[in-house]
Chain length 195, copies 2
DNA sequence: GCACGAACTTGTCAAATGACAAGCAGATGT
DNA sequence: ACATCTGCTTGTCATTTGACAAGTTCGTGC
């Protein structure tokens, strides 16, 4: 049991330092859930009720544009929280889907449980706060990079920061994440490899 | 004094209900600051140290794209918090500027003060948490609308939700906020007025 | 009242991007 | 080993969008 939640425990500790007893009691609340490749973790229109820690695997969030094209909004790699926070905290239907790109192993806690524990354990509240700030930061950085950088620059950055995504996600998903079509990405890759 | 901070007080209460004595002690920490039209509230490269409540006036946040074009990222209207939360909480230089579009009256608290008070007053911590969730929500909704809607739809929505922005911001600023150039916005307005 | 300037509109043209379709390559199953 | 399928690349072409410049409108100051 202790060993089983080792990665979750160290993630909690690393996000917000706390006594061993506290982190153990928090980790204890998380239940296991596995997803097979291409499972839906969250479906558009539903309220997100689970707060997942992704221990192993890859996922992506996606939605559809006004022409019906599938657009990737986020990639999730191991060792992070997977949750559509807008739907989760505001209790409104999600406009996004989340699907697993590989088999995944997660630890999760439900919205109701999390609310209860937030009140009882200050350290967990602080952990949640840090997660929220990090999620906000990522989203804002992403928004700014969409404005400030070219698709090619974003491609190179992604390649350097998360090369493993390229092993598990199709290029068409990466393309829409970068804000371009698979055709354009293919051309960028061609130009890029020439140098 | 009590009357002076009336708008701030009701904003605090409306965001997170709390006893009158508590809200008064929190409001008491905020200091006044005024900005003239076209003042910089925050400059790119600096760490955001103030958490402002905008009592009256309009502001916008902007940055520059890879070609040097001025791009509006956010409009701020009265009765909300104005703060570059990424820079503020992560203590990193801001990639955005914030400028006043009209004369503005604000109430603010510094980062250090806020940190101190967060620990002492649970209600203020919850208030801050709600603000953070709201900021995250707005950013995410905006990102999704950039994907899911056409520029024309976004224009109509903005016109309906914040018509006052059109009184105080130039169309070129609104255009970049919508993700298009002033030329394209002009064409959208032309088409739209025809119907 | 007239001249000037700023903000917005609009026409023309060029460039970038995407749609579509064909081709290619690697993986998988029989 | 062969056929098949899927993902990726690439060529051609059409469309969209923006750049640029000229024109218009409106407000301000002389």
């Amino acid at each position: 049991m202790t060993n089983e939640k080792e990665k979750l425990t160290s993630f909690l500790l690393q996000t917000f330092p706390m006594p061993a007893a506290t982190v153990a009691s928090i980790a204890n609340l998380f239940k296991e859930k596995e997803f097979a490749r291409h499972d839906f973790v969250l479906k558009e229109g539903r309220i997100c009720n689970e707060y997942y820690f992704l221990e192993t695997g890859f996922m992506r969030a996606f939605t559809f544009d006004h022409e019906g094209n599938d657009i990737t909004t986020t990639f999730y790699v191991a060792d992070q929280i997977v949750c559509e926070l807008l739907s989760f905290f505001k209790r409104i239907p999600s406009r996004e889907n989340i699907e697993s790109l590989t088999d995944c192993r997660c630890w999760y806690i439900s919205f109701d449980e999390l609310q209860t524990v937030f009140h009882g354990i200050p350290e967990f509240r602080e952990f949640g706060r840090t997660i929220l700030i990090n999620a906000y930061s990522r989203l804002k950085q992403r928004m700014l990079s969409m404005i400030q950088e070219t698709a090619e620059t974003r491609y190179v950055s992604l390649l350097q920061s998360s090369p493993d995504i390229f092993q598990h996600a199709q290029l068409k998903y990466i393309a829409t994440y970068l804000g371009i079509t698979d055709t354009s990405l293919s051309r960028i890759r061609k130009d890029f490899s020439k140098r």
